[in-house]
Each structure stands twice: as structure tokens, then as C-alpha cells.
């Protein structure tokens, strides 16, 4: 039963969900501290190209993910400088990150000799668990057949959730995102916490991008993320800034994104592929509208109160 359409498409959805999950988790952390970073797409791209380089240079998946994450973090710190220290419009600053990320990644991709563009993957991504477990019916391919990064993604969700809701540091972070003035009065360093949260956000996006090139596409192409970073931003709203709901949302994206693959497997050929490509974006559009239109006050409570608002002690 392991090669049925259902099992294969769910298994592939889990893999596709992973880069978006890392990016969305990072954005949740940044948002929770009150920093809106719309530059996820750019940070993923820079993470993707640098991660791909790291993979070719060392052959190590973990090293590649870490350098990819650090590259995303470096770009995120630029946003922190603009948004936290200089207090410029966070929307504009985030958008500038998208353009810088796509420009810089395209430049890096063609700068080397031989260029990374269309080069072979330096990393061999293989399943973590032994063959016997992976052959179990149903759960084998869906849950047990993945590489280590997929499981790290789930672990990261658990850690992020624990951190945000069960640790003093997580409480501090949320306090800074809800009411920076009160947090400041309580002795928390708003600037440092916001920088750190933004950096973590960039690290998540960078890892997501690196995983995308190393494990999913296997090559670097300009603009490889094709909107995944924006899906991650939408996902954060959908998840109401909660990590576990982010995991669910990422899986839903994985399923929608894999729809053309699924229908191909099922030999259903009624919907043109161009329309299938639209589905994740139509889905994100509809979900954002529905969440906004929901009459409950839940969504208004969910968004960090000080999101996208710069804080300055003197300007209160």
C-alpha cells in the first residue's frame, strides 16, 4: 500500500511543508517580539544559495543548513538595524529585504567559477531511519521515511512552543511584542530581545531556503523559492502566531502545492497544470480573507499588540 497515490502524496507534502515550516516558525518568533519582517522570501533565497554553496564545499547537510541559516540571519540583522534601531517603516524595510535577497542571491549564484547556478548538488540527503521502519505500511513513508531535517522541523515546533509559553525568556519575548513600554519598565532590554528574535527569524528562513535547494530541488535557480517565503508570512497569520498551528498550516500548504503531483499520480488530467500551480496562492488568499472576516475576537487577540511598531523609550 506504500505506493498508493494517497501515501505518496502525503509523504511528499510532508517534505514540501518543511522549508515553509522553518520560515514560518522563524517569523512567528520575530512577530512575537513585535518585529514584522516581510523579507522572508529574500532571506530564504539567500539561505538557499549560501546553503547550496556550503553543501558543495563540505558535503555536509548540517553544515550547509547552518551556513544557510546564518546567511538568512545576516540579512535579518539588516532589517533589525532598519526597523528596531532606526525605526523606519517595517513594511518597506521588509520589502527591501526581498529585493536585496533576490538580487544578492542571483549575484552569488553566478559569481563563482564554476557558478552555483545549475551546478550539481554537493549533499546526499538520505532517510534517517532504517529500511525496515520505512517499509511499514502507511506510516512508513508518511512518518518514518524522511531525512533528519523533517524531524528537526517538528522538534523546532515543539521547542518554539515550549520556549514561548513555558519559559521566562519566552514570556519576556512575548511581553516585548505585546507591550514594549511595560516590558522596558520591568527591566527587559527591548532592543536586544527584538534583535535576537529577528535574528532567529532570519535563521529559520535561511534553513528553510537551504533545505529547499539541498533536499527538494537539488539545484540552485534564481528566484527558486517562487513565493514560498510569502506563503510562510501568510501562514503566520493563519496560525494565529502559534507554532503548532503553523505546523498544520505548513502541511496544508504541502498538500496544495503537491496537488499537480498527486493528480498526475492518480492519472487524473482534467485540471490544467497552470491552475493547479495557483492553488497554494489562492488558498493563502482565501485563508487570509477568511481569518480577517471571522467575527470572533480571537484573531485580534492573537496578533502581538505591538507588531510592526517601533519602540523608543523617549517617544512614549
Amino acid at each position: 500500500m506504500n505506493d498508493t497515490v494517497l501515501v505518496l502524496s502525503i509523504a511528499s507534502a510532508v517534505v514540501t511543508a518543511t522549508p515553509v515550516l522553518f520560515a514560518a516558525l522563524g517569523e512567528i518568533i520575530a512577530n512575537r517580539a513585535g518585529v514584522m519582517n516581510l523579507g522572508v522570501e529574500g532571506m530564504m533565497l539567500i539561505g538557499a544559495v549560501v546553503g547550496f554553496w556550503g553543501g558543495r564545499a563540505t558535503g555536509s547537510l548540517i553544515f550547509a543548513l547552518i551556513v544557510g541559516g546564518l546567511a538568512g540571519m545576516a540579512l535579518a540583522l539588516v532589517h533589525a538595524l532598519l526597523a528596531v534601531t532606526l525605526g523606519v517603516d517595517q513594511t518597506v524595510s521588509g520589502l527591501s529585504l526581498v529585493i536585496v535577497g533576490s538580487g544578492l542571491s542571483a549575484f552569488i549564484g553566478t559569481a563563482g567559477d564554476p557558478p552555483l547556478l545549475s551546478a550539481a548538488n554537493g549533499v546526499d540527503v538520505h532517510p534517517l531511519l532504517p529500511q525496515a521502519l520505512r517499509d511499514l505500511p502507511g506510516v512508513g513513508p508518511i512518518l518514518l521515511g524522511h531525512d533528519i531535517v523533517v524531524y528537526l522541523g517538528v522538534l523546532a515546533v515543539a521547542l518554539a512552543s515550549y520556549y514561548l509559553y513555558r519559559t521566562p525568556a519566552g514570556l519576556s519575548l512575548r511581553a516585548v511584542g505585546e507591550d514594549p513600554a511595560a516590558a522596558d519598565a520591568a527591566g527587559l532590554n527591548v532592543t536586544v530581545i527584538r534583535y535576537a528574535a529577528t535574528a532567529v527569524g532570519g535563521f529559520g528562513a535561511g534553513i528553510g531556503g537551504a533545505y529547499l535547494t539541498l533536499a527538494i530541488s537539488g539545484t540552485w535557480q534564481n528566484g527558486l523559492t517562487a513565493g514560498m517565503g510569502w506563503i510562510a508570512v501568510a501562514l503566520v497569520i493563519l496560525a494565529g502566531w502559534r507554532p503548532w498551528l503553523g505546523l498544520l498550516g505548513a502541511l496544508a500548504f504541502g498538500v496544495l502545492n503537491g496537488l499537480s503531483f498527486t493528480l498526475q499520480l492518480a492519472e487524473v488530467d482534467v485540471i490544467p497544470s497552470d491552475f493547479l500551480k495557483m492553488t497554494p496562492f489562492v488558498g493563502a488568499f482565501v485563508v487570509v480573507v477568511l481569518v480577517s472576516a471571522s467575527p470572533s475576537r480571537a484573531r485580534r487577540v492573537a496578533a502581538p499588540a505591538a507588531l510592526a511598531k517601533p519602540y523608543s523609550r523617549e517617544a512614549r
Binding site: 532598519l82 534601531t85 527591501s96 529585493i99 544578492l104 513565493g227 510569502w230
Partner: protein, 411 residues
Amino acid sequence: MTSGATARPHNRMSRGISGRIKVTPRGFGGPFVRFGIPVAALFVALLLGALILLAAGDNPVDAYRTMFDASLSGPTAWARTLALATPLILTGLAAAVAFQMRVYNIGAEGQLYIGAIAASGVGLALPEATPMVLMLGAMLIVGAMAGALWAGLAAVPKALFDADEIITTLMLNFVALSLMNYLIFGSQTFWRDPQRVVPGGKRLPESAIMPAISGRMHIGILVAVASAVIIWWLLARTSWGFTVRTIGDSKPAARYAGMSVKKQILIVLALSGALAGIAGVSEVSGVTKGLEPRSLATDIGFTGIIVAVVARSNALGVVPVSVFLAAIATSGSRLQSIGIQVEVVLLLQGLIFLTVTAGEYFVTNKVSLAPRMHAAVPADDPVPTSREPSTASIEAQASEPDALVPEQVAT
């Protein structure tokens, strides 16, 4: 963002840097500050680009000289640059109009595609013998309406539920792109030329093609510049423009004054979409001369956002900024002849966006070297009274979800 309202005084930072740098808010700098700083930021971006080129082992002087020669020296080069500046002016205006009200239309890219689809549809559907004036007029009107309607898909949920227009307009870009690809690559539609082996659009009849002025430059540039003047006049000289700018500064204040924020969201996003739609008309009629997805999908909509930011949402400023960014973009292909990657163009656009955004801080804050004696006094900086309006606008954004509640109850 026109008033750069989000920048705040930062005395703490000044103390951090050994008390030598003094930062004081200036409510709204004079023209020298408002236009000089973005220009200075452009040079900083070019400098950063030069450093990156050096690091990559290229000669930045050669690179910039080649770029200048390819885009700004001689009539042919100018024609090429102005041809590319044409759609950038229009998408730049699309972004700028929305920015004026602090609404973010990131969907000009998709609105451009939809405008191009609609206009080429009109051009192919009307009889070839239709007089050019009527033909082009019909294409412009239908293209603008199509772009406005596409933007409306995001504007209506924004007005009704405050659905985040950044996300919704952006998602619609991907939908529009897939739709355009479907019309040419995924099916045998009205737009596709059945004769061609490689999928491509049917060529528009002569009467539907904007006449060339010189080289690649076509009369679309006149449409673009006229649009800039009209938008400038609407925003700066009419009561409607005042309404839009007031809402941009403070939504609660605008509501208090009896202005309908919801109505203006619909109007402004529709106008923004219409401008992007016209950019699509201009491209399909003056450049590609048929619906050609690959040639149309060249990030003109996204570059329009950079244009608007660099021009600080000033409709007249959009024109020279578009020419500048078009000059950079057109010169990319020439760089390859001296062994430098085309990607430098993308890199420079990103750096420009970044430095100009950072420059916004210096537009709203005066940074100067202060004598030690003064800086040592913590209460040195005056209370920023001059910044009250912008502070109010931040508070306005802050209280927006709550501010929406009573209004929803009322309706």
C-alpha cells in the same frame, strides 16, 4: 511613509556612541533634505555595489562606465532606457498612490499581467480596420479597468474586514502569472497564435500597436508622463488628494473629520491597479505586440515599488527615478560583454532600495556631531513636539484593530 513617520528620536543610541553624535527629530525636512537624502542614498548604494564588484574580482569603474554608455550616452541608448522607464513610471505611480495612504499594493506585477491580457484581448477582438485612436483608447480603458478590478479583489476584503492587503495583493500576482501562462502555454486560447511552433501570442494588428517615437521608445512614454502629472495634480491640488493624505497620516483623525476610510481604500487601490493595468497595456501594445508571458513577466511591478520608495511617493519624482532605474536595468545585458554578470543589476536595485529605506531615518532625524558638554546632559533633546502628527499616525496604526470594532458595530 511619505512623512517617514515611523522614525523616532533615539537619544539612547546617541549616548551609546560615546555621546558624540546628537540625534534630534526634525518634523519634516526642507526640500534639500527630502530630495537630497534619497539622492545621497543612491550614491551610497552605487558605492556598496562597487565594493561587492571588487570583492567578486570585477572592476567597478569599468562596470559603471559600461552601464553609463549602454543606457545614457547617445540617442539609441536613451530610447532604450526611456522604453523601459515607461512601464516603471506607471507601476511606480501605482505603488506611490497607495503609499500616500499607507496602503501597500504589492500586486502591480499581477495587475500589469491582467491589464496586458485584457488589452491584447481587445486589440485582437476589434476589427483590424478600427482607427488607431479608437483602438488604443479602448485598449487603455479596458486594460485600466481590468487592472483596477484585479486590485479590487484585494481592496474589497481590505475595506470590509481589514484583510492584510500586502499578502492578498501579493498572492494575486502568482494567480495572474499562472493565468497568463495558461492562456499561452497551457491551452489553445484566443490569445495564442496557432501557427507558431513555440507557443506565443497572436500578433496585434497595426492599429493596436503604439507607434514608435525613436528606436524602442514608443508613445507609451507620453501616457506615462501624463499619468504622472495627473496623479501629482490629484494628490497635491485636489480635496480628494487631501483626503488621501490625511488618511495616510492618521485614520482616526480622518474618520473624525468625516472621511470614509473604506471608500478611499477602494478608490485608491482601484486607481493603483488601473495604473498598473495601463503599464500592461503599454507593454503589450508598444513592446511585445502580442501576449508574450516571458517578456511581460520581468518584475516591472516589483521594481515599481522601489521606484515609489526612492521617489518618496512623489508622483513627479517617480519619472526621473524610473529613468534612473531603467538605465541600470537596460545596461545589464551590455555588462556581459565585459565579463560581468547581468545579476549586478538586481543587486544594485536591492542595494538602492535598502540604502534609501535607511536614508528615511535621516530625513526625519537630524544627526550631527555634538559637543561633549551638551551630550552629557541626558535631557538635552527637546520633547519632540514637532512630531506630534506622525506620532499620532503610529498610534493610529496601533489602535487600528480596535478602531475597527465600533465601526463594524455601527454598520
